[in-house]
């Protein structure tokens, strides 16, 4: 914990001591640090548990081995004693004590007055008790020329006539082994805890850093820098997904904000002009002493102007409605071909009056999910545009085709007019944008804006292509399985 707390972001240090302490408190409060601490405690407890278990198991094993050896010895001696009496016992003890067999076995037989009779221990060990049972004692053992005191474990038997037999085993090897295990376990435990602590703090720092990145970006966006984005680490983990989603959201917000700003500017500009014109016309009528007919005519003209303004307003509201996506709950399965036929039927007399052939080539059963009104309006706007701007010198032809390919429903309106230069193809989707040759024809420059808003609402796309000659506007939507 403390170590984690000390791994403060370097940038905070300039704050001085108080800032440092505050930073530390803040860090401790963070979720990442708390989580890391919790995991560290769980980790430490389990590592400790495992080590204790290993130690207990190996110590127990060594002890059992000592006890088993002792048991075997005692059984052997008991058999000898039963067969050959005390002298036989002394003999066998002497035989077994002769020379260093390296198994650490200790023997001693004493007379009733305590004099050693046989065995490899010089005298009755100090501190060892004198009645039967298991005993722990120490023996002096020559090790490399000098004498060393070794711990031993054994059994004391009282043989009839008060002779005593001590069978024991030098357990210094076992103790050394146990000590070694203890040290090994302690060190490995320390290393594991150290690694856990460092790993945990590094991990939580890494996590904190990435959360901090998100926070800092959010703060910068809130203070007005809408184009700031959360850095993405190309590891495609959860943090990257979060970053990508947040960035997507910020893109959307930025687009909406930019759109809104543009709309406000455009509305201000494009509605002010006709309003000023309307006002001037009415003012002039009021000033000039004219006859009743002229006044009526002026008022009529003013009403026409007001109607055009209203139409512009309505078009703007339709676009706003489509862009806000508020109508999504009205989405229903629609036959795109049917909508196309209905729209074409509305425009057909107009096309005929203009001397244009309006051809509809609608494959049946191309279904999309969407809003009938907005899609109809989009198609009507495309036909409207084609009739207004897509009629060149040669006899005009407008084709409205509906087809489905690769799960996409496509609707295309193509004309044989002058087309749109490639450089202008993106701009015409913006509100109130009217290209130079078309400025003289009536219109408000909102038609394609609505088409694009409709396409976006339906998760579709709209593209302008060269029809060589002419323009082909292509709308594509995700198709609904018929």
């Amino acid at each position: 914990m403390i170590a984690t707390s000390l791994t403060l972001p370097a940038a905070r240090r300039w704050n001085g001591g108080r800032g440092f302490a505050r930073g530390a408190r803040r860090l401790v409060r963070t979720h990442a640090v708390r989580l890391a601490a919790l995991y560290f405690i769980v980790f430490a407890v389990s590592v400790l548990g495992v080590l204790l278990f290993v130690y207990w198991m190996s110590a127990d094993f060594v002890e059992r081995q000592t006890a088993a050896t002792l048991d075997a010895e005692i059984t052997g001696l008991a058999e000898q004693y039963a067969l050959r009496g005390l002298s036989g016992l002394i003999q066998i003890v002497n035989a077994r004590s002769a020379g260093d067999r390296g198994d650490g076995m200790l023997y001693l037989i004493t007379s009733p007055d305590g004099k050693p009779l046989a065995g490899n221990i010089a005298g009755w060990p100090a501190g060892a008790k004198t009645h039967a049972g298991s005993v722990s004692f120490t023996v002096e053992v020559p090790v490399k020329g000098s004498m060393a005191t070794h711990p031993a474990q054994g059994m004391l038997f009282v043989i009839p006539q008060n002779y005593r037999l001590l069978v024991g085993r030098d357990i210094s090897d076992a103790a050394t082994f146990r000590n070694r295990i203890k040290m090994t376990l302690v060190w490995s435990g320390l290393v594991a805890l150290g690694v856990g602590l460092i790993g945990g703090s590094v991990m939580s720092r890494n996590m904190l850093r990435r959360v901090e990145q998100v926070n800092r970006t959010a703060e910068r966006v809130m203070t007005g820098n809408l184009s700031d984005r959360v850095p993405v680490n190309s590891t495609s983990d959860e943090f990257d997904q979060l970053a990508a989603n947040l960035n997507g959201m910020l893109d959307q917000i930025e687009r909406l904000m930019t759109g809104m700003r543009e709309v406000t500017d455009n509305v201000a500009h494009d509605l002010k002009t006709p309003l000023a014109r309307l006002r001037a016309r009415l003012e002039l009528t009021l000033l000039a002493p004219a006859d009743a007919d002229a006044q009526t005519e002026a008022i009529r003209a003013a009403i026409d102007e007001a109607d055009r303004l209203l139409a512009t307003f309505n078009a703007l509201l339709s676009i706003a409605e489509a862009e806000a996506g508020a109508t999504r709950n009205r989405a229903e399965p629609l036959d795109l071909g049917e909508l196309a036929h209905a729209a074409a039927e509305l425009y057909e007399p107009l096309a005929e009056a203009e001397g244009v052939v309006l051809r509809v080539d609608g494959a049946p059963g191309v279904m999309v999910r969407g809003d009938r009104h907005i899609l109809s309006q989009a198609i009507a706007n495309l036909l409207d545009n084609a009739l207004k701007y897509g009629v060149g010198e040669r006899p005009g032809e407008i084709a409205l085709t509906v087809a489905e390919r690769d799960g996409r429903a496509a609707l295309e309106v193509s004309d044989r007019g002058p087309g749109i230069p490639e450089a202008d193809r993106e701009a015409v989707f913006d509100r109130f944008v009217r290209l130079e040759p078309s400025r003289s024809t009536p219109g408000n420059g909102l038609g394609l804006s609505l088409v694009r808003a409709a396409a976006r609402l339906h998760e579709g796309t709209v593209t302008l292509n060269d029809n060589a000659p002419g323009l082909a506007v292509r709308l594509e939507f995700p198709a609904l399985a018929a």
Binding site: A315, L317, R330, L346, A380, D384
Partner: protein, 231 residues
Amino acid sequence: MKLLVIEDDRETAAYLIKGLSESGYTVDHSAEGRNGLYLATGGDYDAIVLDRMLPGMDGLALLGALRAAGIRTPALILSALGSVDDRVKGLRAGGDDYLVKPFAFSELLARLEALLRRGATTPATTRLRVADLELDLLTRSVRRGTKTIELLPREFQLLECLMRHAGHVVTRTMLLENVWDYHFDPQTNVIDVHVSRLRQKIDRNFAPPLLHTVRGAGYCLRPPELIGDGA
């Protein structure tokens, strides 16, 4: 004909009362929702013109209360809220028609007339008649005098709409809504072309002309003796 106007905006109300009175209606006015509901429940009105956002009581709540009380007086909702969702909400609440502010007065007048006549026409009518023009809804045939006129399905619907409102102005928006079910204004007046096509068929070789254009408002189909009347 007695109308109740429930509208809180003083200027709009004054304009409505003046315009409707000049068109021959008797007009009562309430500037507040509760009072409006009280008047609507008590008075015997032929139609109600209702603003949506009102002090005291919301226009839709008022309509709901009125319909719940079993009063079926036709109601036309006036509102600045113009999205399709808003319209649907208004009509579901019990409105008979929905007009978005700002509106042309001629549009309001035409729609009110249509509303007032809705109750009067017998639904069992299978044959519509204006002067010597006759439209049979069962055989879907049209005759003028003794001559049969061939109409396309859409032209038939257009003529039916005009004949149902014979003698009254039908606006372009009304035609778009009733005949095409389009709730938006096309950028070009496509309706004019459709109407002129229809006119070619029903008026060209006959006299007198029955289908008239009313400037700044819409169209009117009327027998010759009514010329000079109406809008």
